[in-house]
Symmetry: C2
Subunit: 379 residues, 2 copies
Amino acid sequence: MEFTINRSAFIKQLTDVQRAISSKTTIPILTGIKVVLTASGLLLTGSDADVSIETFLSVEDEANNLTIESTGEIVLPARFFSEIVKKLPQDTFSLTVTDGYQTEITSGSASFNINGLDANNYPHLPEIDTDDNLIFSGSILKQIISQTVIAVSNQESRPILTGVHFVIENGEFLAVATDSHRLSQRKITLQGANDSKYDVIIPGKSLVELSRMIDDSNPDIEMRISENQVLFILGNTSFYSRLLEGNYPDTSRLIPNESATGIEFSAPKLLSAIERASLLSHESRNNVVKLAINAAEQKVVIYSNSPDVGNVEEALEFSNLSGNDLEISFNPDYMKDALRSFGQTEIKVAFTQPLRPFTLVPTEDTTQFIQLITPVRTF
Amino acid sequence: MEFTINRSAFIKQLTDVQRAISSKTTIPILTGIKVVLTASGLLLTGSDADVSIETFLSVEDEANNLTIESTGEIVLPARFFSEIVKKLPQDTFSLTVTDGYQTEITSGSASFNINGLDANNYPHLPEIDTDDNLIFSGSILKQIISQTVIAVSNQESRPILTGVHFVIENGEFLAVATDSHRLSQRKITLQGANDSKYDVIIPGKSLVELSRMIDDSNPDIEMRISENQVLFILGNTSFYSRLLEGNYPDTSRLIPNESATGIEFSAPKLLSAIERASLLSHESRNNVVKLAINAAEQKVVIYSNSPDVGNVEEALEFSNLSGNDLEISFNPDYMKDALRSFGQTEIKVAFTQPLRPFTLVPTEDTTQFIQLITPVRTF
């Protein structure tokens, strides 16, 4: 194998593939990056067995400036190889596999010789044997991921809750996640998905990595689902993730249909007040803030205290308060995550009872996006 | 005590004072910040017993927008107090010490009550009983610190080497640091210091903190030295550090007076090559790179290798090579620190023998700044 390539084009793709590679893997060859050179271009692959990323640098893309002397394949230690390529002195570099798996990397007057591994020992990527695909706008998919992964559980005791539940049916796409203390659900209408029907659970960690790869240069993303794998295609890059096995709990019955107290807030202003209150709650053993709603006096106050440090109270700005008076306590960190997911919008909060979950939705569109938080018993 | 003040002006000063406060202190009251309000303004003090920082917000400075209701003093938990003030909703805030040491902090509709401590229990700051002062340009002092602290030892086995040696004599200022493997020395002529004579050792950590406080708004910095303390005055802020006790080793005899091989490099280009070579050396047990100079062939090559990963060699660009051939091995991290301290300049490197220290100086001014590195024996 011998080729010369543009260094910055190569680094850009290498960085994407490296997202899949974990230094903590127990399979030594997976600390490496697989480099396969064919007559049509260069294929880079990285994997941690859960997520695999593959990207292709075509000989036809002039930006790659790819010159092929001879084809072949090799596995190179990912971290070193990447550090070396990033520090090379010139705009292009050459890579030659010499005796055995010895690999020479040259650029200008700098010449590295590193020990590679036999690419035949690299595990095969999963095969996705379906032509049925769904198309997402990159920015919408990124938004959906960021809005739902916040509610994913990081406890391995119920592995199924470490994923986001994707349900596609009747041309509608629904993503929901819950760690059993809170829930986040987002719906969109998916163009051209009328016949598709899927019900899968994708690990939250995979989605976070995928989301980091989505930038403005990925206007559309193709999703293909097989029995135990999902594939996302972003331009020249393929992102594979395993699916979680099992049945996701029925979350629809968790969301209350009616409310006893309704109130509207500016999401960023409420977020600032919660951030202030959480300074104190973080110093106390149970990390709770209390919200007291007085409908008759049209007054809403937030409280928190820490026996060691002190206490805080703040009257909140709000609008359209209606219904019953209420005192409710909750974990402010769940509230902060939820409020951040709304951005700079007005939100509507609906309560039923002090110990029943309450919901947050955008005031402008109350059906497509919902955050639910379970209160904390403080007595 | 009761006052109202502009929040951003207060935060700026608070941030400086907090640099002195360590969460690791064993003296509980030093986790606090001392706030003293007199008729003329507000004095903030933080200390970790080694470094103390004091800053004054004058009632006369309109930017402070300071309104005094009643004077007094209190010690407040530094981390919380700072987090609270940073998150308050309005441009100003009020602080009132109520019953005992309870302190109320209000801004808009947010109200915090935190537990303070008796300011009488806060340690007294050192007194510097001298009018003799030296004036530094802020940018020059910052440069001198950055150039010398790199060679300070971080081993407590020889505490004296954890400081920078400041010598002022005959209107000349000399700063030198060494960890016994390398040395960095900078000289400047100090205006108006003809009569002053000092020989002190300032902890490297103190100088790093001081240097972080120096920005473009501090054109001149006043330095006062007493028996066991040094005081730097930056505008309204006073920075105190203890001095290290003992005699600094005589470093002047370490610097060779002659050389057997001389060569010039571009500092940033040599730095890049050393960074490449150190990718491999960092993976090997002894972290060494080898430089081979061949005067007859006018060729200079750098080598490094790691048995596990591979090896690198690179022919270097240079100029004005003269003298004997040489093979010399050294720690590339020392070389990187030294080269970074020169910035974008040409440097002259002078060698005597493979196991004797070599020196780096700027080509343009070979006497004011010198870096010395001791080679490593590899056979």
